[in-house]
Symmetry: C2
Subunit: 452 residues, 2 copies
């Protein structure tokens, strides 16, 4: 799917105007300005009251800007929104972000009508709209954090990241906080009431962004399910999907939240599967699944159920991993005699040269033990993927070596963080390795492996 | 079940001797000594080589100690273990911790025979044994960290905590790392090969400890299933159980790990349920379930499925919570008209005075909004429990107020941490509140609520 240039102009802007820019502590206007401090493009604060905000000169109205802005952020109350949307269209803006709530999510039909008027301005002018009732978006490569809330995320130099597409703003921000334990995030894109741009448009935009390796999509309602399925099918990169509003009570709450249609009668499971999406039901798994899909997308493809090997330095966690592999219906790899001999030669006498392979607590005094065993196991043609339950948060160990091994052998290496200190020492370092996928649940890992 | 005094003497010791005490960096002996720095009792290093370790004078042999030690830690190689076990028994020790591996977990029958000899010494002398192939135990109230590994845990002044009983040492330590995000832990008790003390004995011991509010048990094999079930039934406090080795491959790995019998043919599900245990299948849920059981044990009991109310400041997370409640088969509470009116009066016009109740992003600028809504909801007799999906890690907010409200109304208040920054700002503060149970998964929360 080629990227719509009007959407690309708006969501990857060179110029951003902030209507309602402010210097008042705690205000939406000031928080939005602060979020743009790292933006590499041009920022135009719009304020009738202020001459400057910090170093930046203000403009009284959108009509006064020196150039048509690619993106206008409306940090203004609902009552002022419609006039400013018209002013943005008149100024030739690429698009407008509308934070204000009180539109189609109200039970009062006046809310829907007000929203329809905004959509009509966009439709007639060709300007795009994000919202209303949205927290905005962040395109981290240029530092365009077009929202009032803190947008965690970003991608280390020379890497790519997952794009988070979330209809719900707060949910998108909560997912994006994965950045705090080392997940690389290229975009956070939220669409709220979806009066113009909806989840389908945002997926299509993210699909066209080279910085995005995969897409983590959380949505709840959309006008045309088939458009969303097409966007996923045509994305050309993996899409992990969390759908909210699966239950009757949930679907009812969708209408009160974003005023969008959950299409409860639609065959979402079938449609998403056919479109090639990997669906998750548990919200806590969306990000780790998207990261796994991104990292494993670079490995050679293979058909059939992957045969899993387990390597651990904690026998107990190895047993739990074997249980989880069995529960997921995946086969445990039958290690070749040569592999078993190689493991037995390297392990202490009380280790287990089997699958699961138990390197025992010796691993903590012999730092090459786990990588050496991993190398032997990954070399075995009977092994398609290696699952490494990681018992305790401590130093980053040999994560770089393990990652290199996995990439050299072209097989997924999943590190399942079994410690209850889920962001403890080593967690971010593991996440940063291109050849290691980190999960915080054995069965999430097995589910992802089975659907790769 | 009354506590066996021989076990209490050993696992809540006043005197600890360390055989193999050492001053060599990285050695088991030095690591064990360091772990006892905070012990409130007396420590006797035993070493033929050294006169003192730090401030402490050494004793050449166990026979030279000034008093019979309650607990002897054997930080010595397997070859030296049997002699030292005999020496400990001869010295009148209460019990001995055996770290060494290479016993019944070996395929070589010599390992089993060596272990049987240790058990015979214990049986004949009345001295208790923990291990072999164990990481030891920690009784935090006295600082008795009887192991070589770092034992995270402890209970803040004036509080109690969960007791972790884990057959696997590494798993026990990984579970205990929950302390790093604020979980109060009274004990970590690991039994490895269980030659004498097994999971049943450790559950019975923990049951008798006033510092322990509930028990988180992870086990894989035991000689007599019925003894374990009796210990759980008689515990007099909640027991959450994770059983490893449910699958054939897992059960086989149990024999290689601790040489114990997983009793694969036994009706564990039926037996554990009848004994009143709350079983979890996913390892990541054991600790949070045990904490929930402990905190909610102080609330008035009630019969039947709890009617759940949902309160959120993120509509999207409220929808997901409604989906999870439905998936768990729990009823959503039908709020009374009075509650709905009270909520509508307090919420912004674009909030949702329904169940799920959406306080919207207004909650971030109006810090009393969520507590006020929680108070209205908890007052409703149609509500048995309140589920609060917490969208983003940030400040601790009104956790104290929420906790007080929940306790005053005698209803569980579950905060489900939806942020991917799972140990971010506020997490430890929420955990510390006696009236708030923190979950990191909606469905774990619903499962726990349904089985309270």
């Amino acid at each position: 799917m080629s990227v719509d240039p009007t959407i690309a102009r708006f969501l990857d802007p060179q110029t951003i105007a902030v209507v309602g820019a402010s210097d008042r502590a705690g205000s939406l206007g000031l928080r939005t300005m602060r979020n743009l401090d790292g933006f590499t493009g041009r920022v135009y604060p719009v304020s009738r009251r202020l001459d400057r905000i910090g170093d930046r000169p203000c403009f009284a109205t959108l009509a006064d800007l020196p150039e048509p802005p690619d993106c206008v952020i409306l940090a203004v109350p609902a009552a002022a929104v419609e006039d400013e949307v018209r002013a943005a269209a008149a100024a030739g803006a690429g698009g407008a972000v509308v934070f204000a709530s009180g539109y189609a999510e109200l039970s009062d039909p006046a809310g829907r009508m007000a929203q329809d008027r905004l959509a009509a301005v966009a439709r007639e002018s060709g300007m795009r709209l994000l919202g209303p009732n949205t927290t905005g978006f962040a395109t981290f490569a240029s530092g365009a954090r077009a929202g009032f809330a803190e947008f965690p995320g970003g991608v280390p130099e020379g890497r790519r990241g997952i794009a988070i597409v979330s209809q719900s703003g707060a949910m998108g921000l909560g997912l994006a906080q994965a950045a705090e334990h080392g997940v690389a995030i290229s975009h956070v894109l939220t669409c709220g009431n979806s009066s113009d741009l909806d989840a389908a448009d945002l997926v299509a935009f993210a699909a066209g962004q080279p910085a995005a390796t995969s897409i983590a999509l959380a949505f709840e309602g959309i006008s045309e399910p088939d458009r969303l399925l097409s966007a996923i099918r045509d994305a050309g990169k993996p899409v992990a999907v969390l759908r909210a509003g699966r239950s009757p009570a949930g679907a009812e709450a969708v209408r009160r939240h974003t005023g969008t249609d959950p299409h409860a009668g639609f065959d979402w499971n079938g449609g998403l599967a056919q479109a090639g999406a990997i669906t998750v039901v548990r919200p806590e798994r969306l990000v780790e699944t998207a990261v796994f899909l991104a990292k494993s997308a670079e490995l050679p493809p293979r058909a059939g159920q992957p045969r899993i090997a387990i390597l651990t330095s904690s026998g107990g966690n190895g047993i739990l991993a074997a249980d989880a592999v069995a529960a997921a219906g995946l086969p445990l790899a039958a290690l070749s005699p040569a592999t078993t001999r190689a493991l037995a030669a390297r392990l202490p006498a009380f280790g287990a040269a089997h699958n699961p392979c138990d390197a025992t607590a010796e691993a903590s005094s012999d730092p090459n033990l786990v990588p050496d065993c991993a190398g032997a196991i990954l070399s075995d043609p009977a092994v398609d993927a290696l699952l490494l339950p990681w018992g305790k948060a401590w130093d980053a160990g040999q994560f770089g070596t393990l990652s290199d091994l996995a990439r050299r052998h072209g097989k997924p290496l999943c590190l399942v963080w079994m410690s209850q200190w889920s962001e403890g020492p080593g967690a971010a370092e593991a996440e940063a390795q291109p050849g290691l996928s980190v999960f915080r649940s054995l069965d999430a890992c097995c589910a992802a492996l089975s659907r790769r």
